[in-house]
């Protein structure tokens, strides 16, 4: 059984219950605010909100950020099935999750991401769904990087035929020729710095501009490298 496809809330009710507090706040925000774009996902999405890049490129596009640090695919799935996207009518939803699914295979992670895409589609028939590729991590080569890379390859084939779902390649340019990732790009070898965020998310921004201002995006049929 693929655990990525079984929605699960993060339960810290014995502790300080922050995850549920954050989820409820997102529910409230989705009711109170108009948004053209909703970002939903994990640590990388959450951290993005606190960068200059967010203020400069994404805030002006009326974006909501529903990222939660450490979220796995099944947590995001739970949030979507528990109304986080029910009261918004965005034109684009950006989905980025998977790096924290350490116990899952690339196939399971990919299926989980597609499951989320299907869930979003059920709620929003016409929304564009943008899926940035998963990022490498760790200072040196490691099995997590391999896993992310395999997921990205699988996603390319799974997503290419889904209408109004766009994969954006954002994972190039981080692993240097010596195989290392610089802390100037990822200060803890996972989360992006301002410079790293710009490198990764400018392509997402460019696509959002296209999707928000034109009727249909120009389909780029050249395979991206």
């Amino acid at each position: 059984m693929n655990t990525c496809k079984v929605p699960v809330a993060v339960d810290d009710s014995d502790g300080d219950n922050r995850w549920m507090s954050i989820h409820k706040r997102f529910l409230a925000e989705s009711r109170e605010k108009d948004a053209d774009v909703v970002f939903i996902g994990d640590s990388i999405v959450q951290a993005l909100q606190h960068t200059e890049v967010w203020n400069e490129l994404f805030a002006p596009l009326h974006c909501l950020n529903f990222g939660i640090h450490r979220d796995k695919i099944e947590n995001v799935l739970w949030r979507i099935q528990n109304d986080e996207l029910d009261h918004v009518k965005p034109k684009v939803i950006v989905l980025h999750v998977g790096t924290n699914n350490n116990a899952n295979t690339p196939e399971e992670i990919t299926e989980g991401i597609v499951e989320i895409v299907n869930n979003i589609r059920e709620k929003h028939h016409d929304v564009y769904i943008v899926v940035p590729t998963l990022l490498p991590r760790g200072q040196h080569p490691n099995k997590l990087r391999e896993r992310m890379s395999q997921v990205n390859d699988l996603l390319k084939s799974k997503i290419v035929n889904l209408p109004k779902v766009e994969l954006v390649v954002i994972d190039k340019g981080f692993v240097q020729s010596d195989g290392t990732i610089s802390h100037h790009d990822m200060h803890d070898y996972l989360l992006l710095t301002n410079a790293g965020s710009r490198k990764a998310f400018e392509p997402v921004h460019d696509l959002l501009l296209q999707l928000l201002t034109e009727g249909e995006p120009e389909k780029d049929l050249t395979p991206s490298e």
Binding site: G15, D16, R18, H50, N102, R137, H140, N142, H183, D188
Partner: protein
């Protein structure tokens, strides 16, 4: 046995050894940096370096940031025993802030662990100023983690701010009480102060860690 006093490298549950990489980077940095002030601790220290307060004020004091997200008391103890205090130059002050992640420990265990870190700092660095900001509350509503951190603060304040308890451990150690005015009258914490009810927003860093900066200036006559 108190886990907080047993030095331990942070475990690599993920499989990419990020924390070890950061530790090694810090050890290298200590050898070559000419900083006078070290900030060391957990994610709240780590994220401080991206705040306006750090960029506009703290960095001008020649500070270096050895914060690692997720770190527990025993992880910081391990790090300082394994090279992160081996600076090329003489450090004038260490700002120590860790404890909130020891959610399975008693307040007294956490307090003992912090004492152990302080003793280790003194042993290695001699007469350096040690600044201890009090642990922050967390969670949107009242909860056991808030109580734990509060309790630790009571121990810290009693030990270090009470002249009746002065001894060689308390020498040159200054507790800065930063945990006030965060919990509102209705006992909630606003996401405007802590965006995830644990980590500080940019403006909150200015308000809450400002007094730490002031204390550093006062002690170092800047």
């Amino acid at each position: 046995m108190n886990p907080c006093v047993i030095p331990k490298l942070s475990e690599d549950h993920d499989g990419d050894e990020r924390k070890l990489s950061m530790h090694k980077r810090f050890v290298q940095q200590a050898k070559t940096d000419e900083s006078e002030i070290l900030f060391i601790g957990d994610s709240i220290v780590e994220q401080l370096q991206f705040s306006n307060l750090w960029i506009e004020k703290i960095s001008a004091l020649h500070c270096v940031n050895f914060g690692i997200g997720g770190d527990r008391v025993e992880n910081v103890l391990w790090r300082i025993q394994n090279g992160e205090l081996d600076f090329n130059v003489k450090l004038k002050a260490v700002v120590l802030f860790v404890g909130t992640n020891n959610t399975d420990c008693t307040p007294h265990e956490i307090f003992e662990g912090i004492l152990e870190i302080i003793k280790e700092i003194k042993h290695r660095l001699g007469s350096v100023f040690i600044i201890l900001p009090t642990l922050l509350p967390r969670g949107q509503y009242p909860n056991t983690y808030r109580e734990r951190n509060d309790h630790v603060n009571t121990f810290l304040i009693d030990k270090f701010s009470n002249e009746a308890n002065a001894d060689e451990v308390t020498d040159n150690v200054y507790v800065v009480e930063i945990h006030h005015n965060i919990v509102q009258n209705d006992q909630t914490i606003s996401h405007h102060i802590m965006h995830d009810y644990l980590h500080l927003t940019n403006s909150a860093y200015t308000k809450i860690f400002g007094p730490v900066y002031d204390k550093l200036c006062e002690l170092l006559h800047k």
